[in-house]
């Protein structure tokens, strides 16, 4: 049975993600160890760290793709990995995810991909779904790609189409996993502007994993730094830039090419 979606809006400044002493063991390796941080509504939180520091694992915990202890993780007030049936469905309707490779379904056209969440979770007629999809495509500056397949798009267009799918349900919270990976500076800048617009015009909260220093400097409100599975820093971009922690200093210095 379909249900009516009750969008629970979040107020700016409200704590939208709370992580307290989150540890994660994959196989025999402890990937995350007592990670703690928070993200506030209406802000862009960027998770930083060298490759292998546990960023993607942390993101998968936040998305409920890996299970976490009940009390150590709250996203939109809930632990996503403990949700089932209708609660799980409702939770995922309130978040959007932009995957590193786009993760559009290759067997479906761009239009069908973007309209899929609406088709599955609402009772909208087909014409309305198409209109919403076309509007979202316009929002991400993609023109006549509705009937094309993901394999027919360039890397930059694919990322923007994936962004359109991530925001098609107008979620209050958007996760981005290395959105700039593999993009040239022009396309990267376009994507950053689109993500910034989502924050400014829609008040969307964004949690992002990225290595692109230009994106970090352009967008970050809040920085979380992971080192070998430990969260060693969280704070504003300004405090991250002036922080004395060697790992963080080194990260920004190397990123600037010093």
């Amino acid at each position: 049975m379909k249900h009516t979606i009750q969008p629970e809006r979040v107020s700016p400044g409200e704590m939208i993600i709370e992580v307290e002493d989150l540890s994660s063991v994959l196989g025999e390796k402890e990937v995350l160890s007592e990670v703690s941080f928070h993200a506030l509504a209406g802000e862009i939180t960027i998770i930083l760290g060298e490759s292998g520091s546990g960023k993607t694992t942390l993101l998968k915990h936040l998305l409920g793709l890996y299970s976490s202890r009940g009390d150590c993780l709250r996203v939109l007030g809930k632990n996503p990995s403990s949700l089932i049936d209708q609660d799980e469905k409702e939770f995922y309707q309130r978040i959007g995810v932009l995957y590193q490779e786009g993760a559009l379904l290759n067997s479906m056209t761009i239009g069908e991909n973007i309209g899929l969440p609406l088709e599955q979770h609402t009772r909208f007629p087909g014409e309305l779904i198409e209109q919403v999809v076309r509007m979202k495509l316009k929002l991400v500056h993609l023109g006549e790609v509705y009937h094309l397949y993901p394999s027919q798009l360039s890397g930059g267009m694919l990322k923007r189409a994936a962004l359109a799918r991530a925001i098609v349900m107008d979620p209050p919270l958007l996760f981005c996993d290395e959105p700039g990976a593999g993009l040239d500076p022009v396309n990267l800048s376009k994507l950053d502007s689109l993500i910034m617009n989502l924050k400014i015009s829609m008040g969307m909260t964004i949690v992002m994993v990225t290595h692109e220093l230009s994106s970090i400097l352009r967008m970050a409100d809040h920085i979380v730094y992971l080192e070998n599975g430990h969260s060693i820093f969280q704070g504003s971009l300004e405090s991250a830039l002036s922080c004395d922690l060697p790992a963080l200093k080194n990260y920004f210095a190397r990123g600037k090419g010093e």
Partner: protein, 376 residues
């Protein structure tokens, strides 16, 4: 004594290796072309060297690339392992720097990995099979069964037209190959039996043999093996690719169950088409038998069909259909299971695809035996 000397084809330098008393002199340039000479010089002469000290003179060594330096270090390590004290002199600044940069020592860095014993390895594999594979396989089986049942009562649980698409892929597109193979197998089965039956004067029993064998055994089995090869591999590869490219994660984070969205339509398509494919295989196999009976054993098609009506029991037909449904379930389940177990990378997709086909065919044969034992 000059051990080796040759003109370097790339730089017009001559690489030479001399051994005189306690002095090994290497000159020219050391690169990929001269490495063989360096190693040969050890095998021919240097390994017999019995002095306590060896001076390595590199005064005339002009240049060396990475392979040349690595080989030189390799040679020096071999000599020093024989207890010879080496004194390297005369290396130019560049060569000196390269020698210092190279710190790798394959002889020392090679870590000894203790190989587990036969029974230890067997035990480890059995533990993985029962604790990991079997539990996960049964868990997926339960999930697929649950969603296949529930989805029958829910509208728009998957993409519109997806069941028909899958039915075309699994059933319609396989009809020609399944039909042809069954016809040939029916033909061969009858042909092999014909000579034996004729010598006993039991020509008419060719009908019983062909019909019963095809309807209750060969038809379902041939169909299942063909479908496991075609669709089992395709299901595993599709799901594995979706997993590698995060499409299954994307489905979950859009609030959709990947099992319900991706596998259930394939399960329905299998249930819808494989029984029909099996009936097609039965008929084509019988047709092959009829052809041999009429051409080798003088049994006319009319006699063949009349006898067929007498020998064919409803039980055989139902057994065949029942088997085809079980096989269909096993093929889709096994393909999906291996698809979800993929590790990262293209090689992972290839590996799970192969495993899916091998295990699906094995399970079909085991299931066939169990059903056979239960029914007869």
């Amino acid at each position: 004594m000059r051990i080796k000397s040759r003109l370097n084809p790339t730089s017009n330098d001559t690489t030479s290796i001399y051994l005189e008393a306690q002095v090994l002199k290497i000159s020219g340039s050391l690169n990929i072309n001269s490495v063989d000479d360096l190693l040969e010089s050890y095998n021919l002469v240097l390994h017999k060297y019995d002095g306590k000290v060896l001076e390595i003179h590199l005064d005339e060594l002009i240049e060396a690339d990475d392979i040349g330096i690595t080989s030189l270090k390799y040679l020096l390590t071999k000599l020093s392992n024989k207890g010879i004290h080496l004194e390297i002199t005369g290396a130019n600044q560049q060569i000196q720097r390269q020698l210092e940069l190279y710190t790798g020592d394959p002889e020392i860095e090679r870590t000894q990995v203790e190989k587990p014993g036969y029974f230890e390895e067997l035990g480890r594999k059995l533990t993985i099979l029962f604790n990991d594979h079997l539990v996960a396989y049964l868990h997926l089986a339960a999930e697929i069964t649950y969603w296949s049942f529930i989805t029958m009562f829910i509208r728009r649980a998957h993409r519109r037209g997806e069941v028909v698409n899958q039915a075309v892929l699994m059933g319609v597109n396989a009809a020609f190959i399944v039909g042809t193979m069954s016809f040939i197998i029916g033909l061969v089965l009858a042909l092999q039996s014909a000579a034996q039956l004729r010598s006993f004067g039991a020509n008419i029993y060719i009908v019983d043999l062909t019909v019963i064998a095809m309807m209750s055994e060969m038809g379902p089995l041939i169909t299942a093996i063909m479908v496991a090869g075609r669709s089992g591999s395709s299901i595993a590869a599709e799901i594995a690719t979706m997993k590698v490219t995060s499409e299954t994660d994307a489905l979950k984070t859009m609030g959709m169950n990947p099992v319900r969205f991706v596998i259930v339509p394939k399960m329905y398509a299998g249930f819808l088409t494989i029984p029909f494919l099996t009936i097609l295989a039965d008929l084509m196999g019988i047709l092959g038998g009829l052809l041999i009976a009429s051409s080798y054993l003088d049994i006319s098609p009319v006699v063949f069909i009349n006898r067929m009506q007498e020998s064919l029991l409803l039980k055989d037909i139902i057994t065949g259909i029942l088997k085809s449904l079980v096989f269909s379930y096993l093929i889709v389940l096994t393909g999906s299971y291996y698809g979800f177990r993929v590790q990262k990378g293209a090689a992972g997709v290839g590996k799970v695809t192969t495993n899916a086909v091998v295990v699906a065919i094995s399970m079909v044969i085991v299931a066939d035996s169990i059903i056979g034992l239960l029914i007869y």
